[in-house]
Amino acid sequence: MPLIEIKGASKGFGPPGNRTEVLKNINLSVEEGEFVVIVGYSGSGKSTLINMISGLVKPDTGTASISGEVITGPGPDRGLVFQNYSLLPWLNVEENIALAVDEVFKDWTPEQRKAHVAKYIAMVKLTPAAHKLPKELSGGMRQRVSVARTLAMQPKVLLMDEPLSALDALTRAQLQDEIADIWLNNKTTVIWITNDPDEAILVADKVIPLLPTSPATLGEPMIVDMERPRDRKAINHDARFKKLRTQLITTLLDAKGRTKVKASVKITLPDILPEDLNYVNSLQFLNRSGPKRRSDKNREEVEVAA
């Protein structure tokens, strides 16, 4: 039985009549221990999809389930890493993680919980910054805290909603490697959402494109059978990487091309006749009823030079 399963789910937003269908006929199944990356354009419904699994959004039709149970709301078995980190700014690194740990492992002793928090801070290499507030950290460090907070809950599945898209390219590369490493050591199930095809192929076991049809649907999964750990410098010259990348980008671009919408608008030229400004101050001008229109004129005299 797959760990996460979505069957025939669809979701739309807005009141009836002015409704936008975002996702349609979504079928997804993720096995335990799998690293799945979903790639799609910005605004194509990626976040909605992951929020269905996290339980923040309920599908209109179809179901999302974890270990066979239908998901009805958020829970600590599905750890969500937010795109904008969502650390609480008034708590320091340790307290932010402790908030999650205290809630999930209520029956532990305070010492156990403290050690648990320290372990995960060490895992993301932030031990020296444990007592700093989020505003004193760089973007990359904040996202590491966010990852540590989620991992510390020991969720069955790690949901990452564009976790690195707010970071600069170099930090992003570093964090991709770090998270891939952490996954190698933990083997948690991961569902990662991104808009970067390279990132997707670099970290994933399985890449699924989210096709930007309107409403969006999932494309055919692609299996990335490259050995780990992957070296980002060497991989650029790997024939399999290049092939997958071309295939993925082509799929996404083709789907985008097919959704181009044709619309026709009737353009009418203005038919107001120019005013004679020599008479602006005259009573006749003030008493005129609005601008003159060409269509009002019954007859127009045109002088033609012989």
């Binding site: 996290s54 923040l56 709301g73 958020p74 829970g75 600590p76 599905r78 750890g79 969500l80 937010f82 904008n84 969502s86 609480l88 700014p89 008034w90 908030l99 999650a100 809630e103 999930v104 507030l133 989020p134 505003k135 809950m153």
Partner: protein, 294 residues
């Protein structure tokens, strides 16, 4: 270096200049005592003092100072129930304000939270709040007197320590000072980013924990802005309340001195109220900036 020095000098001399100019205009419009010698009906020479000027009864800055010197140099002296050092009066007023203000915060903050959290609560109570908010302290005081007419706490000697007028005073301060706290807390709660609430949802925090770990800290900056505005209003209301109830304090002293024709003391009271209000505001904004998050 040159710039910094100039800036510092400017920030001292410009306000000083403005104060001197104001005092000069004050002096110009103030009345001056003119002493003339006159022969009265019995043939004796007597001195007659007459006040002249644009506003004959207004004391000049110097007269104000001489008349107020005793109150300022001995700020904690007690010479009688209504003749005490200015800081002693200020202290009495501050104690009363502190009590009324505390009531305002204790009642106002939860109301603000309810307004911010529940749309139905807002729809239900918003009209009442909007109508009550602009009512002047002078209007609330008589109502307070009626509401608490039965209140009487007597000490061992049979003297009333807390009567209807005390209760009415606290009621007036509390109800007038409450609104900024209510409104700002409500706005703050509504402005809590959805991200933080999502964190609480994903972690499955209990309602109580969400309130204390997420909502309250996130709202704190707004709440303190409300607290600061509330304190300003509480201090404004105190004068009116003391005047009407005759309680001892800066406002009571001001009114009593007006009735006693000691006009110089009125100016002393006004300046004291102004300075204390300013200090309170600075104090609150210092606390407020400590609670600014991110």
């Amino acid at each position: 270096m040159h710039l910094i020095q100039r800036f510092k000098l400017d920030s001292i001399f410009l306000p000083l200049g403005a104060i001197l100019v104001t005092c000069f205009f004050w002096y110009v419009i103030a009345g001056k005592s003119v002493i003339t010698e006159k022969v009265d009906d019995f043939g004796d020479k007597i001195k007659v003092t007459k006040r002249e000027g644009l506003s004959a009864d207004l004391p000049t800055p110097v007269e104000t100072w001489t008349a107020s010197k005793l109150y300022i140099t001995e700020p904690f002296a007690k010479r009688g129930e209504l003749d005490q050092g200015i800081l002693r009066f200020t202290w009495m007023s501050l104690v009363l304000v502190a009590q009324g203000y505390a009531i305002a915060l204790i009642i106002g903050t939860p109301i603000g939270f309810f307004l911010g959290l529940s749309k139905k609560f807002t729809t239900a109570f918003d009209p009442i709040i909007q109508v009550l908010r602009p009512v002047s302290p002078l209007a609330w005081l008589p109502l307070g007197m009626i509401l608490f007419s039965g209140v009487k706490i007597v000490n061992g000697d049979g003297r009333t320590t807390f009567g209807a007028s005390d209760a009415a005073a606290l009621f007036t301060i509390a109800i007038c000072a409450m609104w900024p706290t209510v409104m700002n807390t409500a706005v703050g709660v509504r402005a809590v980013p959805q991200d933080y609430l999502n964190v609480a949802k994903v972690l499955k925090l209990s309602k109580w924990k969400t309130l204390w770990k997420v909502l309250v800290p996130a709202t704190l900056p707004y709440m303190f802005t409300g607290f600061r505005l509330s304190l300003g209003i509480a201090w404004l209301v105190i004068v009116a309340v003391e005047m009407l109830t005759g309680m001892p304090g800066v406002g009571g002293f001001l009114w009593q001195q007006y009735n006693a024709n000691s006009y110089a003391h009125i100016i002393l009271c006004i300046l004291t109220i102004g300075v204390v209000g300013y200090v309170l505001d600075r104090l609150m904004s210092a606390i407020e900036s400590r609670f600014k998050t991110a």
